[in-house]
Amino acid sequence: MYAQKSPEFTFNKKFITIKNDTKTSGNLYIYRGEIPKEELSNVNPILGKLIQEKTVLRFIPLIPFGWNQKYTLVYRDTVEYFELDTPEEYKHLSVKSIYPSAKILPSNLLKWYIQFSHPISETYVYDHIRFINAVGDTLSNATLSLENALISDNGKLLTIWVEPGRQKRDLIPNTLLGPVFENEKTYKLVVLKKLKDANGISMQQDFIHSFRITIADRVKPDINSWKIQFPIVNSKSRLLISCYESLDYGSTLNSVAIINAKEEKIDGNWQYTDHESTLSFTPLNPWKKGDYKILFDTYIEDLAGNNLDRLFDSEITDVKNTNHLSKEHKLKFSIK
């Protein structure tokens, strides 16, 4: 503490104010960390906006002040240090759910989705994700380490690609390193507790999810083999579609719709059950008699990246058949 007489200041995450008036104005600088007075000239102050108000000088940092981060305040000849303690009631980041949720997965599994309780830090996300084998070794080159993490708009859902170059047969990483996962073996997906939320606060413990690998899935999902459990007329009963295999969470969400004979969309909520192998639709309004169609997006995938039109991993014999135009996928049903 270097102040001869401490100025009166208050702070929170969004700003710091220091009591003054226009007659006693002076410059206010905030620095990251506890910086000794003699070293201040070597450090850059924090960017922000300085506003002179009637009785206070207000500094609004460009990025809100962080929890547990020490700061140095310099006002005229005064140097003060301050820190915002993490609130006691702070809800730490945790994993709410993980997809695929099934415990037995095909060896050519392509994607994982992790649903977090809060928005996560967007920097170096994939550095905190590990796959570990049964003896505790971390798998190398197991995921696609994207510079720009694939995070949902609300900041809570993270997509992880299992290294596609290894999962797809005959690509160079596959021929050199083999597939990431081996049949009949068990693995753990670990989210290290070092992963932080958007406020820069870490998780309290590692998240560990165990799973076992079975044979590769090299069959396209076929909607014609799916079984529909019809709802009851004049009720809000669920329509269930049993797919007999787990579907990819991300590509299936919002990729199915029901329309009536007038081509009007039926409003309601879709959910997954049975480890994402059953699609469940609950209408907002009671079902009416009539003919319906269920529309499926071509890009609905199974866990191995096989979509309704093509296998993820196959020889392409006709380039014209692989363009982006695809046929419609629909199932019809009637309620009587």
Binding site: N148, L171, A198
Partner: protein, 370 residues
């Protein structure tokens, strides 16, 4: 008469100082305001000081006018401890910031760095006298276009919004077109877009595929990490670097919207590696391709070698980590995280040096001499 001469001189001076700002047809649709940039994943300069920003989070390309930034002398540019400097300026731990790109305006050598903060803030900095100045993005002359995918006619408004996130990997400008490569969290494919500039509603989509002899057919579904538009044997081409790490060329004339387009693999740059940035530099009448990598040193390839290579790699490289195809030289720059052309014949890098120092500095042009 004196007044008239003064007026004419002032008029000439005003044109000299700001020759294109007022009447540029490229900026005719620009308006001043907040373009709503929420992420800066990749950047590139077009003509007239226009910076193109690939914004994955807001699914948009934003063109901003930076021509008003003064010409600066960056001939002695060197910033040590760049990550610490940025963390200090943002008042945040170093692990909560990420430098997402670095570009140089070829018209005035201004250097720009884009930075993401863990809280979701995207920031743009300009280098001035080896210090960083924040570039305000909330009231800027700009034009933008959406990257939202078109949906099937019947699907429109029926299935709601898709859970699609798109990560822009690279963005480049050439001859009235902005081109982007990237990867979505849905299909694993080399999504490649070409967007007319000035922006219109028209966008072309396609995927650029690699010839892969193991199947005897065309291999698709791999994302392009870095690319450049260039000229090979007098005609326009794309040189694209893929993860793990084939280097592939595509004749521009052959790229058809909405289709898979076959490329020719001209080099394998070693497995376990991924290209980070690539630039073309002319020096002493020679053209060079520089490639920064995640797990290899900075590579230099001569265009004369590249143009004379008529083959196509058709079988996987057997020797682990080996490279094949067009010859290249490893330059003594490892851990290069950002790369751009600098001045007439130089290059600028952000490099994690062996001491741990993250440095923004010029590369030595000596390496680009015959």
């Amino acid at each position: 008469m004196k007044t008239l001469i003064t007026f004419v001189l002032l008029l000439i001076l005003s044109f000299l100082e700001n020759p294109i700002l007022a009447n540029s047809s490229l900026k005719a649709n620009f308006k001043t305001g907040d373009p709503g940039i929420t992420s800066i994943n990749s950047m590139t300069f077009g003509p007239e000081g226009i910076l193109f920003i690939g914004d994955s989070k807001s699914a948009q390309i934003v063109a901003i006018d930076l021509s008003t930034h003064p010409k600066v002398d960056n001939s002695t540019v060197k910033i040590n401890f760049l990550d610490i400097l940025i963390a200090d300026m943002l008042g945040t731990p170093i692990d909560q910031i990420q430098i997402t790109d670095m570009v140089v305006n070829p018209e005035n050598n201004n250097i720009y760095l884009s930075v993401h903060h863990s809280s979701g803030n995207a920031l743009l900095f300009r280098v001035e006298n080896n210090k960083l100045k924040k570039v305000s993005l909330d009231n800027i002359s700009h034009s933008k276009t959406s990257l939202i995918d078109p949906v099937h006619k019947e699907a429109k408004d029926k299935r709601g919004r898709k859970l699609r996130k798109w990560a822009v990997a690279d963005i480049k400008y050439t001859s009235g077109k902005v081109m982007l490569s990237g990867l979505s969290n849905k299909e694993f494919a080399s999504t490649f877009r070409s967007v007319d500039f000035p922006f219109t509603d028209k966008q072309d989509y396609g995927s650029l595929e690699i010839y892969h002899a193991a199947h005897g057919q065309y291999e698709t579904h791999a994302p392009i990490k870095a690319f450049i538009p260039t000229t090979i044997k007098g005609s326009s081409h794309i040189i694209a670097g893929y993860t793990c790490t084939p280097l592939v060329i595509f004749p521009m004339d052959n790229i058809k919207p909405g289709e898979h387009n076959k490329g020719r693999t001209i080099a394998e740059l070693g497995s376990g590696n991924s290209p980070v940035d690539m630039v073309e530099i002319k020096n002493g009448g020679q053209r060079y391709l520089l490639i920064a990598n995640s797990n290899r040193p900075l590579m230099k390839m001569e265009f004369t070698d590249l143009e004379s290579y008529n083959g196509s790699l058709t079988s996987p490289v057997i020797k682990k980590g080996a490279a094949e195809g067009v010859d290249y030289v490893n330059l003594p720059y490892v851990n290069v995280q950002q790369l751009d052309k600098f001045g007439e014949a130089g290059f600028l890098i952000v490099q994690r040096e062996s001491s741990g120092n993250l440095a923004l500095k010029k590369g030595n042009s000596w390496w680009l001499e015959k």
